[in-house]
């Protein structure tokens, strides 16, 4: 089996994978980073969204071998500090503050998408823009209301960081 090496959440990692191994499988099964979720098999739900070389992508639609040398950030790598002095990313903080999650399954993908959205579209996002940009992320619990509020607040808070 071929070897693939990349940086995940700031750490160098390597593993033997099959040609068909998806990036999300590599993250979940090889690295035990189970915060990245799989909610569908057609790249519709967005639960598996991560950052690949600074861009938001669905990790179920990328082969692990295609990520040789890449820089990957998952939901586990978004906050800084250790377990004792964890400093949440402003977008994580906003999801908690605005009750932007219920069961939490779509949440890692939502947060990673939202951070990517701010990078692409800037900090002053209006409601319509956020709703349109969330097209690739499905939530079944929240009715999106509080997710949109959270993204708006998180985007504004990222300005200060």
């Amino acid at each position: 089996m071929p070897t693939v090496a990349m940086t995940v959440n700031g750490k160098s990692v390597a593993g033997n994978v099959e040609g068909r191994t998806l990036l999300v499988q590599f993250l979940r099964e090889h690295l035990q980073l189970t915060g990245t979720h799989v909610g569908c098999d057609t790249s519709q739900c967005g639960c598996c969204t991560i950052h690949l070389n600074g861009k938001g992508v669905k990790s179920c639609a990328v082969l692990a071998l295609a990520c040789e040398g890449a820089d990957v950030v998952t939901i586990e790598g978004l906050a800084t500090g250790g377990t004792a002095d964890v400093k949440l990313h402003p977008m994580q903080e906003a999801f908690r503050e605005h009750h932007g999650l219920q069961c939490g399954f779509c949440t890692p993908g939502m947060i990673m998408s939202a951070v990517d959205m701010v990078k692409r579209k800037g900090h002053d996002l209006d409601e319509k823009a956020i709703r349109k940009q969330l097209e690739g992320n499905i939530c079944r619990c929240t009715g999106y209301h509080n997710i949109v509020l959270a993204v708006q607040a998180g985007a504004a808070a990222m300005k200060g960081n």
């Binding site: 569908c40 098999d41 057609t42 219920q102 779509c106 319509k128 969330l134 929240t142 509020l149």
Partner: protein, 782 residues
Amino acid sequence: MSLTTSSNRIGQPVRRKEDLRLITGQGRYSDDVNLPHQVRAIMLRSPHAHARIRSIDTRKALTMPGVLAVLTATEMLADGLQPMPHKPQSNSPAEPQLINRDGFVEFDAPHYPLAVGKARYAGEAIAVVIAQTIDQAKDAAEQVEIDYEVLPVVTATAAAAQCDAPRLWDGPSNVTLDADVGDKAATEAAFARAAHIAKFETWIQRVTGVPMEPRAAVCEYDAATRRYTLHAGSGGAVRLKQDLALMLDVPEQYVRVLMNDVGGNFGTRGMIYPEFALVAWAARRVGRPVKWLCDRSEAFLSDYQARDLAVTAELALDKDGNFLAMRGSNISNQGSHPTNYGPLKKGVEIMSSLYRVPAAHFRARAVVSNTMITRPYRSAGRPEVMYVMERLIDIAAREFGFDRVELRRLNLLKSAELPYTNPFGMLYDSGDYPAAMESVLKRSDWSNFPARRAEAKTRGKLRGIGVANYVDTATGVPRERAEITVNSNGTVDVVLGIVSNGQGHETSFAQLVHEWLGVPLDSVRLITGDTDIVKVGGGTHSGRGMRMGSVVIWNSANEIITKGKRIAARLMECDPSVIRFEQGRFLAAGSDRSASLFEVAAATTQLIDLPEDLHGPLTAFSDEIFNEASFPYGCHVCEVEIDPTLGTLEIIKYSAVDDVGRAVNPMIIHGQVHGGIVQGVGQALMEQCYYDPASGQPLTGSFMDYAMPRADNFPFFDTEISEVPCTTHPLGMRPAGEGGTTPALGVVINAVVDALSEYGVKHIEMPATPERIWQAIRSAQK
């Protein structure tokens, strides 16, 4: 800590305790559990909706790399695996049973986890393939040779009830239940003197729950102790354990069920699934832990589906618009096996909603068809019938010249009329129904709608507005238990038989304990997902979590205080009667002595002269049966704008007033309403499990074809929580989880039809997709 200034009390929008782990990727869902030496299971499913299984040849598959076993119905029956323990009739004493008409012939239709002899829906599991890896199992599954004799199918609800329909079982027809509710003679008499009769025929289409976390299960079997340990998410661990023990035909102590985070439920994940028993059985057979993961495509085949009710209904009115009676027929499509009459019953018994309807009669039938099994889904049965009643009222208003709000005002039950027994025998306890409607009419600026419609018209758009009242019968498994243990290390354990599927139980139940025992919110640890600790509990469904959980926690907390006073009396050398409990401390009257709850808890193991019943640890439990139904209610208004050239629709405003009796955490409740509305609107406008009527093939097999509501389908919602205390609940609470969904179907379709009224459109069936709206406009123009 002063409780009076605490922001964590009952009624406060406390931020959720569970969120830190969920927003940092530390949640633990079913597929996150892997066991050493586990192997993988794949379900081989029937490609035919109805087929006799002539033979299954597994020889070639067994020689494939990595394969440990290929199991079929033959092995399943030989090993004595039992059918699914469905109880079609609910066991809640609050609900009357649906009793078959005289002469109705019942027949057996056992639901085995693997099809025996015949497949009755496309996707029914035929065999389980166990291999070292998923890919090996999938490759081997392709080598299993099955000889099918394809049979004719029936999928549509009303068609399945016909006597010449293709027959699924050896019965006289596909009808599995045929009952009457209400008073037929009184209803006929009322119809005979009616000035107006509104008629409505509809099909509340089939949808499915779609929790975002696909199902997964891993089970290990320990041969030495003969014990099965299953890790799988569900609505409740105890029920899953009991059901699994029944299917494995072993005493309950030989089964342990574990679950942590559960990624959504909505009812369709609420009970045991065939695959859970199959992995347990397979684990024993192969001597290795067996894991199964359902991908989304497989979920659209094998997750329980819901709704699917064919209705004909009539409403009789006098010349002034007073409702006199209603009558009709409801047919529930159960899918391949009759497993749950709950939605049928819960619906048909509140057809009259919150209105004064002196007489009613309905026929309630259930049928089987070549489709996936249907089960309760968020507000099971009630969204369907609220939709029917609210459509009937709008139809009557339009047809007979009444104002639709005035017609509702006239017939809505007033507070002074409660408690009220509806014509089906259900007793509504309390509430202020007109207040909810008036409040939402105001919030939605109903009276100024004509101006908004006129303005939209200038832009070539069609505006419509709809209103819908609702009542929601909440019952569920009647028994629930809580056990509270105060630990001397400053923590409080609460053991409860209700598993959170996203409702924030770790927070709202902790608020109760904080309020009643005066301990910090963070000291409370909720334990729900391990049947070695949790012995009793009905799980999360039918608005029973907070409704029952609050009472058993309240009782347990009071018992802790009573015990604590006696112990504190020993510590402070005074009589228990002079001790009072305030904000987490026991205080002795007339002295400055006091002891904290945790000091008292420590004393239970330190004092050697305590009476036996006070020996440590400091713990108390409450185990209660809840015999009464609860009736949450409210009113929603929806305003839509339609582009007549495209048929596309935009929800301009959605306002809701929902009564929860007493709100524990309003932030969580608003969130429940938002999510509930979207699930209801999803059914009204886009969702449907489509089946090809000729072949019975499901056509909605992924998120590419099953239309899920997305963020840009909605505006922000305008939601209000009403708190009129519930008189049948000791703490005044009503359930809050389903109200968002219950009126949403009716209110949206009422708004859509209102928007299209200038074309003379009288009704549009769900889902009101742009295509259907466009067709309705085009047909009306001809």
